[in-house]
């Protein structure tokens, strides 16, 4: 990557049409990054059951979004999923894990506990009120716990963020964190319908690239 991101723009910039080429290169890199997010699962309490176990199991099947290869090692992961209450003593360990991950790395914070402290915001002597003081967060997924659909929505939001990035010219640039909330009043059928259509467009654009 170092060669492409550091040297290539320098050599190519004087060439006419190079920004088109770099744009295409961005697209390919981002496409592959967005569709092979390997999560490091950091589940400390109840959210982990919904977000990691239920989302990974066959009914919801996170493999459809290319994020099923859960790694217990930070060296092989590029997405840190923090699911569960983070207490003061846990925070330094979480920071260590984050720093051990290789760039590019992304963080999804699921559940109200990591967003604000959730049910433990008052009268708690140990629960951190928000993860953002420990590691930079890219996507917040609200809920207590979020349903697997909401987590998928978070993954899709992150994929969108990654695809918007200028990987070659500005590697490692962090985007503003977003709150990936499902719109209120949505039914399960609508969610499934939307996912189906997303998958179809994904498939079509993939085909176009391949063909």
């Amino acid at each position: 990557m170092g060669l492409i991101t550091e040297k290539l723009p320098l050599y190519l910039d004087p060439v006419p049409g190079s920004s088109w080429f770099l744009g295409k290169l961005d697209e390919v890199i981002n496409w592959s990054r967005a569709n092979s997010l390997w999560p490091l699962t950091f589940g400390t309490s109840c959210c982990a059951i919904e977000v990691m176990m239920a989302a990974g199991a066959s009914r919801h099947d996170v493999a459809r979004f290319g994020a099923e290869v859960a790694r217990p090692s930070p060296r092989q992961a590029d997405l840190l999923v923090v699911a569960g209450t983070i207490v003061k003593r846990m925070a330094p360990r979480l920071r260590t894990l984050y720093e051990q991950m290789a760039e590019p790395r992304y963080v999804i914070a699921t559940g109200s506990c990591v967003i604000s402290g959730g049910p433990f915001i008052y009268h708690s002597y140990s629960t951190l009120r928000g993860l953002d003081g420990v590691v930079p967060v890219d996507v917040y997924v609200p809920g207590c716990p979020p349903r697997p659909e909401a987590y998928f929505y978070g993954i899709l939001t992150l994929q969108k963020l990654i695809k918007e990035g200028e990987t070659v010219r500005r590697p490692g640039e962090r985007r503003k964190p977003v709150l990936a909330a499902l719109p209120a009043g949505m039914t399960v059928d609508q969610i499934q319908e939307e996912m189906r259509s997303l998958l179809v467009t994904e498939k079509n654009s993939g085909d176009r690239r391949n063909g």
């Binding site: 003061k88 003593r89 915001i121 008052y122 009268h123 708690s124 002597y125 140990s126 009120r129």
Partner: protein, 154 residues
């Protein structure tokens, strides 16, 4: 043994016990000075054989100025279970350790010490278990406050 028989057997063992209401199983209250002897009898008596200490915790009755220590016992051999409760004064929270009877009590008592500040007599290693070693105060006491804690706005 069913609850009535169990209670009768306990009464012969230790006449000073009383039944505690509001419990999900048979629960008895013992005076603190009788606790050690009572507990070792519970484990050793052939008809009772409470060989597991499932859980040990405390309740902070701050208005009554006392801690209530709760021991949940169970017998694998006979399949019965029992809750033993002891009240100790809040300003001098000292209780006998049962870690010589059930080894697991060593950690359970460390946790109760950590959270409530109950001191156990004859405990081999009474240190904090979950919190940092330099933590000030005992966070599960009802009157605990620190700078980190947020008060709920009215």
């Amino acid at each position: 043994m069913d609850n009535e028989k169990l209670l009768a057997a306990l009464k012969t063992l230790e006449p000073q016990i009383s039944v505690r209401e509001n419990a999900d199983r048979l629960a008895v209250t013992v005076p603190c000075e009788r606790l050690g002897a009572f507990m070792s009898k519970l484990k050793l008596e052939n008809a009772l054989r409470f060989d597991i200490l499932y859980a040990h915790t405390a309740i902070d009755w701050v208005a009554e100025n006392r801690f209530e220590l709760i021991y949940i016992l169970s017998s694998l051999e006979h399949g019965h279970s029992l809750m033993v409760c002891v009240s100790i004064p809040r300003d001098a929270p000292v209780a006998p350790s049962v870690s010589s009877i059930w080894r697991i009590a060593e950690w359970q008592e460390r946790e109760v010490y950590d959270m409530f500040g109950v001191l156990y007599r004859d405990h081999p290693d009474l240190r904090r278990l979950l919190l940092e070693d330099d933590w000030q105060g005992f966070p599960l006491r009802k009157d605990y406050k620190d700078d980190f804690m947020l008060e709920k706005p009215q």
